[in-house]
Amino acid sequence: MNFLLNIKEALQSLNANKTRSLLTILGIVIGVASVIALLSLGEGAGNSITGEIESIGTNVIYILNGNTNEEVTNPKELTLRDAQVLSSSRRATAIAYVAPVFSRSSEITHSGNSKETAILGSTPDYQFVQNLTMAEGEFISEAQVEGRSAVVVLGPEIATYLLGRNTNIVGNTVRIGGYPYRIVGVTEAKGGSAFNNPDNNVYIPISTAQARLPHDNSIGQVQYILVSAVDAESADLAIQQIREVLRMTHRIPPRNPDDFTILNQQDFLAVAASITNVLTIFLGGIGAISLLVGGIGIMNIMLVSVTERTREIGLRKALGARKKDILLQFLTESVLLSLIGGLIGIALGWAISVVVGQIAVRSGTYLDVAVTMNSVLLGTLFSAAVGIFFGYYPANRAASLEPVEALRYE
């Protein structure tokens, strides 16, 4: 059988039932479009998160409280003293800067503008660990930490939000949790996402934060400690040294597990990858369900078509069509239905993800929507597979008809 003629004939018979064919195609369009759109949104979200983690820098190390992998008896919290020991220890040669962080959510206000946001209490080292440059003024100084000064450094975005501008604002006063704080500096705009945007950060001395922000921790406790290694290559060495120092200060006997967790960029990336993978599978699964429904639609309509064309099948068999000729004829129709739907679906899914990506960007969320070749390929193959899978049963039913029965069918 001529392949092109087969397709032409299939198109003719699909064309003979236009409305029916279009509605069937629509089912596949929706299925494929949702697979493509959801996969690329998932991928985009993953990319955003990964990009953000990469912006941490390869030499930045997080030390967190507790150990999620092993049971620890009588764990000790991370304290300011831990941070001091880390930065002053002679053994910790690979460590460049150590910045303990004590952060609480609080309301920051200025002349009627207010925002509930995280207030980061830290030390001067924070500026160097995070590579912050100052647009004006200075970052928090050692003296301000020691003196528990009521001073604040603002990111440019929150500054604009509160004061209407982000230049010439040093010396002004904002209120955090009701207390007045003098603005001593504004950081340079760095850009970021909704999850972690340094331009929206509010920094105060860690001592001030522990004294003034409401909390129920004991004095000296911190949430986490940021450490930067002297360079990217010595990050692993730095991690090893941190572990040694902290085990000593926390007096952990040998072979007992750590009561803290050390994470670097690689660890975050691994966690993020596993989360985004789950997200992508989940979203793809939702899309796949609609594709499945579309496939059932094809099967349904092909079964109707086979019944309607019983006589035609009988005639074709009388004229010499073999089983596989009939099978191929009906499979061609169902695959064409699903492929046409698939192609339109890819275009629609693409359009949807671009539009959603634009909306996200407009509303301030960085979302790098990625319609990958993979998802397009997946869409095409999947729709063709749906056509074959759901078309096979009706086509086989047609091919198995007895010529006599089929010719006699009214």
Binding site: M1, Q12, S13, R311, L315, G320, R322, V404
Partner: protein, 231 residues
């Protein structure tokens, strides 16, 4: 009469249908042969087994027992795909209801058996000349609903002829036509029988239609009731 001259040889053919619990004996041992180039009519009232016999002769169904030789080949034991091949190469069907594909042109309808035969070249030309030979050279791009009943049956005859079959099996070919078109179709079939030497089997219950045959086999209750040889 040698074996070669017998295009059809049927020996003790039976067919039993299972209808629920009841066995229906549609054919109860039928034997006959048909000479090459003969015009044979098979007559009988409905329920006589005439249609069943036609299905067997057309290789649309397999007999329960007995042998059926078509051009010397034993076809009663072939499988489905082999039977499809036999139908394609050796049998041309002409049905009472024409059975054309409604969406296809006359040309495409006539081409269809060539496609199933796997012929790739000159299909169009062959189909065109077949349509010309039935007097429809000027209607090749028309679809069935644009043709009269007589014209549609001519397309069906062109389709039956296209693979140069050994036999043409015409099942009440004039049953759905008015007298004039019926006569024309019958004359066309007889004409083709004379010019091409194609064996013609007419299955009918109409004595007038059967009257053109050289020999008439009367079927009743699944048996040959009588054979009538005419001039």
């Amino acid at each position: 009469m040698t074996e070669q001259e017998n295009v059809i040889k049927v020996e003790d053919m039976t067919k039993v249908y299972q209808m629920g619990e009841i066995e229906v004996h549609a054919l109860r041992g039928v034997s006959f042969s048909v000479r090459k180039g003969e015009v044979l009519a098979i007559m009988g009232p409905s329920g006589s087994g005439k249609s069943t016999l036609m299905n067997m002769l057309g290789c649309l169904d397999a007999p329960t027992s007995g042998d059926y030789y078509l051009e010397g080949e034993l076809v009663s034991t072939l499988d489905d795909d082999q039977l499809a091949l036999v139908r394609n190469h050796k049998i041309g069907f002409v049905f009472q209801t024409f059975n054309l594909l409604p969406r296809a042109t006359a040309l495409a309808n006539v081409e269809l058996p060539l496609r199933y035969a796997g012929i790739k070249e000159n299909r169009r030309e062959l189909a065109k000349s077949a349509l010309e030979s039935v007097g429809l050279g000027d209607r090749i791009t028309h679809k069935p609903n644009e043709l009269s009943g007589g014209q549609q049956q001519r397309v069906a005859i062109a389709r039956a002829l296209i693979n140069e079959p050994a036999i043409i099996l015409a099942d009440e070919p004039t049953g759905n036509l008015d007298t004039k078109s019926g006569e024309e179709i019958m004359n066309l079939l007889l004409d083709l029988n004379k010019t091409k030497g194609t064996t013609l089997l007419l299955v009918t219950h109409d004595p007038d239609a059967a009257a053109v045959a050289e020999r008439i086999i009367h079927i009743r209750d699944g048996r040959i009731e009588k054979e009538e040889v005419r001039v």
